[in-house]
Point group: C2
Chain length 270, copies 2
């Protein structure tokens, strides 16, 4: 496990993932736009670099976990990145982006003889810290096998969706859309319970112990029940529901629920 | 267990519930509008009657499982029903109706010294047959205790929501609304998967084994994945989503998702 891995993006998910890789014995060269976020990792032996390309080992593996297509593209297109990754090098991309953007990035990597492997992950930061991420994987076989030990060091399960880049990313968008729909349903349920004089927590507890006994309901349900009107979802659902509906729109697939959720989540309403 | 119980309504849920009560040793007097539906029960010892009131024992227990408010009210108001149920008699109502309608019915029963106890159930007909229903209960304490053995004979769990009629019915409406939202999300996910060249079953299997590992997703997901565009939901979701949004409207609780689902389910679209 002495191979040095590049690691780009130390946000809410990237940081605990990087920490677990260090704990599993991997050497890491880490890059983050805001350099101070790397500090907790330096004490654990990570080496910090000041440009994305400096995190790379020629022919090696670099992991990225960044916010969106734009951030990921700007890293890949940054000076010297693909040259330094070099032939046989693997970019293991864990960000949630559009499947079409992932396909474009894969083609860009292929032109330089590099591999792009997508491995978007499901799980909140606490799940990442506990190595409990669920990982969707797609890309060419040999590089997928090479990165598998890394994935097993950070998650509780890897689901392989084949060779075609975009297939794993699509599943990630589908899951985030379904989760956002579930959260909206719980907001309406707990709001009604409260306004009609019932205890929202009691309603949610019953439903999430029985028909809806799934992590997504249990982890969000109680928080929503505590204050249904003020529950705030952060920026991820809006971004990912938008990616879901745009992806559907490209293949003319009807998504009325995704459109409603996008409208409800859009800042103009607030 | 020799007490004779009245049983009204032998539909998809009523029939397996009645069968399980017979199997547990209860004597049943059964009534159904379409008399022929009672036939499978007669061989098991049930006695068929031709009017609702004839199913009742004075001061005894009658169970009803019917389609909606209108059907339930027409039974309660049918000639001689409340007189025959009599003081101390219990009407154990398992239908999914509006909480406000349940409250009105409870008041009507109370005027005659009868008890109305609500116990709407979650579960498909297969779950009812397997005694796997989840039961929401509300009503006055003493009659609730008296009917509890009946509920334990037909379900896998009873959740008591207190004395106030309507509280258990509200939970049932909330659960059916959340289930309908989950199904709509899966329809959009599997439709997108299919149209974008991915295998809908593989997508659903991954999601329902991980974040969405709940009965409602697992029981409907595979069926939807097989043919997302043609999946048909029957009349129950439309009825219950409509009750949910009407109930919310009475307390001015916002339910944009329920409104969308109601629109999508309304026959005018087909």
């Amino acid at each position: 496990m002495s191979e040095t891995i590049g690691f780009i993006g130390l946000g809410n998910l990237g940081l605990p993932i990087a920490r677990n890789l260090l704990a599993s014995g991997y050497a890491l060269k880490v890059y983050n736009r805001t350099a101070s976020k790397a500090e907790p990792l330096l004490a654990l032996g990570a080496q910090q670099v000041s440009q994305p390309r400096d995190a790379l080992t020629r022919g090696g593996i670099v992991i990225s976990v960044v916010w969106d297509d734009v951030a990921l593209e700007s890293i890949v297109m940054s000076e010297g990145f693909l040259e330094q990754l070099g032939p046989g090098g693997i970019h293991l991309s864990m960000s949630t982006i559009a499947p079409a953007a992932a396909q474009n990035l894969a083609a860009t990597h292929a032109e330089r003889g590099c591999y792009y492997v997508e491995a978007p992950v499901f799980g909140r930061p606490e799940a990442a810290a506990a190595r409990k991420l669920w990982i969707c994987l797609a890309g060419p076989s040999a590089p997928k096998e090479r990165v598998r030990p890394l994935l097993e060091a950070i998650g509780q399960g890897v689901f392989d969706f084949g060779d075609t880049i975009g297939a794993a990313t699509l599943v990630k968008l589908c899951g985030n859309f379904m989760g956002t729909a579930a959260v909206q349903a719980m907001i309406e349920v707990t709001g009604l319970a409260k306004k009609s004089g019932n205890d929202p927590t009691k309603v949610i507890d019953m439903l999430t112990q029985t028909l809806f006994s799934a992590p997504i309901y249990q982890s969000y349900g109680r928080v929503i029940a505590e204050d249904p009107e003020r529950y705030s979802r952060g920026p991820i659902p809006l971004k990912d529901v938008n990616l879901f509906r745009e992806t559907a729109s490209q293949v003319e697939s009807q998504t009325p629920l995704a459109h409603l959720l996008h409208t409800l989540l859009s800042p103009i309403r607030n």
